[in-house]
Amino acid sequence: MIATDVLTYAAGSVLGYRARTLLTLLAMGIGVASVVMLTALGEGARRFVTGEFQSLGTHLLIVLPGRSETTGGPPPLLGETPRDLTLDDALAIERSRAVRRIAPIAVGSAGVSYREREREVMVIGSTAAFLDVRRLKMASGRFFSTSDPRRASPVCVLGAKLKHELFGAGPAIGRWVRVGDRRFRVVGTLASEGRSIGLDLEDIVIVPVAAAQALFDSYSLFRVLVEARSDEAIPRARRDILRIIRQRHEGEDDVTVITQDAVVATFDKIFRALTLTVAGIASISLAVAGILIMNVMLVAVSQRTTEVGLLKALGASSGAIMRVFLAEAAILSLVGAAAGVAVGYAAIRFVDQAYPLLPLSTPLWAVASAVLVAMTTGLLFGVLPARRAAKLDPVAALAGR
């Protein structure tokens, strides 16, 4: 029998038993669709998180005060150190040629009030460079100007939510608000960023770093954000930062430098592993569908014993019989997989439209491997029934024994 004959014959028998074929396709389809959808979810989460980190800025290095000796352990998150990381340290870092700009950050919390309304929020003290390093957008007004970072000018920029809570829809620019026990003039409001990892930039007030230091009576910085000149300059910037701080801190290495790429890479790895695990669990259902195909094919062989006998009596070789049944198994699994991919993609599009925030997309490798696994299980589980059919004795089969 030539290939087309094998295929038409197999397709004919697949179409002949409609109910059973549909159910088998359903089983395979569920398996493939769930793999496609779950990898899309995992991949979407991965892109979302890494995208969030990348949106923090480019070529970013973060300097934290304090250092823990255990390598691979978490950095000292809210470390107080005997020797502060100061504004002068930050400004010294800026002198490195690998560094484009820096934004020192001092944080604390204080009540912000306007007339009778008060709200306790996070206060960030920084410099004009903060806007560019973090790539924030202004909704109105301006950010504070690039004057001497040591001057504590009484100006502030409000986050979108804080502005709304204090001023409602009214204008905020030019008004005086009280932060802690000091008065600041609002010079701008931030555009609503929607979401951001680590800091809720909606509910904050940004003041000049010197003003924050005076407000909290503390000279220590919480972080220094450093933007390197280019991707290639990141390692050099890192070395320079460590060298400069060591010189300024009497030979003591008491800061931790994290590169943004390292953080992104870590999250990338975690989410990839998660996606793989979830896809692995879902693909167990592919194996179950494969078992079903084997079962259905076994039934088919026993039901079509006479047919096989007739084919053999007409001169079909064992190989040809085997190919017929294998083709049938392959058709079942392939069409099922195709249906699953179609359903999976439809569901992804639906979710995508309902929640545009989550960038859902199935990686091609996931679809390919799901279909491949479906095919392989189908064929693998088809071998046993096909061999049983091929081994039938034509005389006994025709006699119906």
Partner: protein, 399 residues
């Protein structure tokens, strides 16, 4: 037909098609095994995390500066305009039902002894730490109950710091430098291991008053207190709020009870376990489709048999029950096999990789078996109804 007859007939049909029944049950078994194993892992993680969190005791309440609703690090812990002071801590200690109270300041500094240095976590705490955090010293004493404002320069070492700085030498009584100041070692803590990635042994404990001086700050990062077991959390909670409000004049602090933490964690972990179980459930569902397929085929094959049964007086409901019972048998047997497989795998993982938290839960195992039975019933209904609706004459003629 009596029940026993129906079951004998159905069992006969199942046994007659041996390989087919085996494969159908295998499909269900794989699904159930996946559900059982995954829920075991989920339950294991659940227990592990809760245990990690309750190792400090369950009657703890933490008071942090600043008003926040989230559990993350708030800016207020670093600096704020209305600090939590040592006096606040002392005032909370006078509250009814409170057994012990302790100020906490945390930071990072270099510890030096005899030329060896190590950067490590510095915890400024009170003398009540062994009671509040349920930790114990392995040698010497913990910090004495000095007045925090004039505390003596004593230090207690974490197990890791001790071995890194002193090796085999006896550290008790030795003088070492913490961030430049001289301290005398009076005790070594028991090894406590990791807690959510933080090495608890890589730390030294000094009086909170000293730590405030070391880091040049006035504000505590946290006040931890323990209340008497059996007294109401809400009363203590309200007492804390009353005292601090009176002292500060406003609500500028956050009170977190350990119970709240555990409850929230527990519900998050429950959702996780359920989600993992649902993932395994996909396979179970596919297995159910398998039962449906095979039962559809069986009804088609045995039309003549159904016709005969009906011709000699079997009622429709009896035919229905016959096929339902058959599908039930297939899935229940598969479920049992899956239970054995899943539990076996869980036990094997526990034996060969004890670090993985696996805890087979009987509750989920029972639910999984119940699910298998329900799947069998649901998958059997359509084919069985089809069989029951057959006209005896048509069915007989089909042969």
């Amino acid at each position: 037909m009596r029940v026993i007859d129906i079951s004998r007939l159905a069992a006969g049909a199942v046994i007659a098609h041996r390989s087919r029944s085996l494969l159908t049950s295998l499909g269900i078994a794989v699904g159930i095994a996946a559900v059982v194993l995954l829920t075991s892992i989920g339950e294991g993680v659940h227990r592990f995390v809760l245990q990690e969190f309750s190792q400090f005791g369950t009657n703890i309440i933490a008071v942090t500066p600043g008003k926040t609703e989230t559990f993350g690090i708030s800016g207020a812990q670093i600096s704020n305009v209305r600090p939590l002071s040592l006096d606040d801590s002392a005032a909370l200690g006078r509250l009814e039902h409170v057994v012990a109270v302790m100020p906490v300041v945390q930071g990072n500094a270099q510890v030096e002894f005899d030329g060896r240095t190590r950067r490590t976590m510095i915890l400024g705490v009170g003398s009540e730490l062994p009671q509040v955090w349920s930790m114990d010293v392995s040698a010497g004493h913990f910090l004495p109950p000095d007045d925090q404002r004039a505390a003596r320069a004593f230090v207690v070492l974490g197990a890791k710091v001790r071995s890194e700085l002193f090796g085999d030498r006896n550290p008790l009584g030795q003088r070492l430098r913490v961030g430049g100041d001289r301290y005398r070692v009076i005790g070594v803590m028991e090894a406590k291991g990791q807690f959510l990635g933080f090495d608890l042994d890589d730390a030294v404990y000094v009086p909170a008053g000293k730590a405030l001086g070391l880091f040049n700050r006035e504000s505590l990062m946290e006040i931890d207190l323990v209340y008497r077991a059996g007294s109401s959390v809400d009363t203590v909670h309200a007492g804390i709020e009353r005292i601090l409000r009176a002292r500060h004049g406003s609500d500028d602090f956050t009170v977190t009870t350990q119970q709240q933490m555990l409850d929230i964690l527990g519900s998050v972990l429950d959702v996780l376990t359920f989600a993992v179980a649902a993932l395994g459930g996909i396979s179970l569902f596919v297995g159910g489709v398998g039962v449906l397929t095979i039962m559809t085929i069986a009804v088609r094959e045995r039309r003549a048999e159904v016709g005969l049964l009906r011709a000699i007086g079997a009622r429709r409901s009896q035919v229905l029950r016959l096929f339902l019972f058959e599908s039930l048998l297939l899935s229940a047997a598969g479920g049992l096999a899956g239970l054995a497989l899943g539990l076996g795998l869980a036990v094997a993982i526990k034996a060969f990789a004890p670090s993985l938290p696996v805890h087979p839960s009987l509750e989920y195992a029972f639910l999984a078996e119940l699910l298998a039975v329900v799947i069998g019933l649901v998958a059997g209904v359509l084919p069985a109804r089809h069989a029951a609706r057959l006209q005896p004459l048509d069915a007989l003629r089909a042969e």
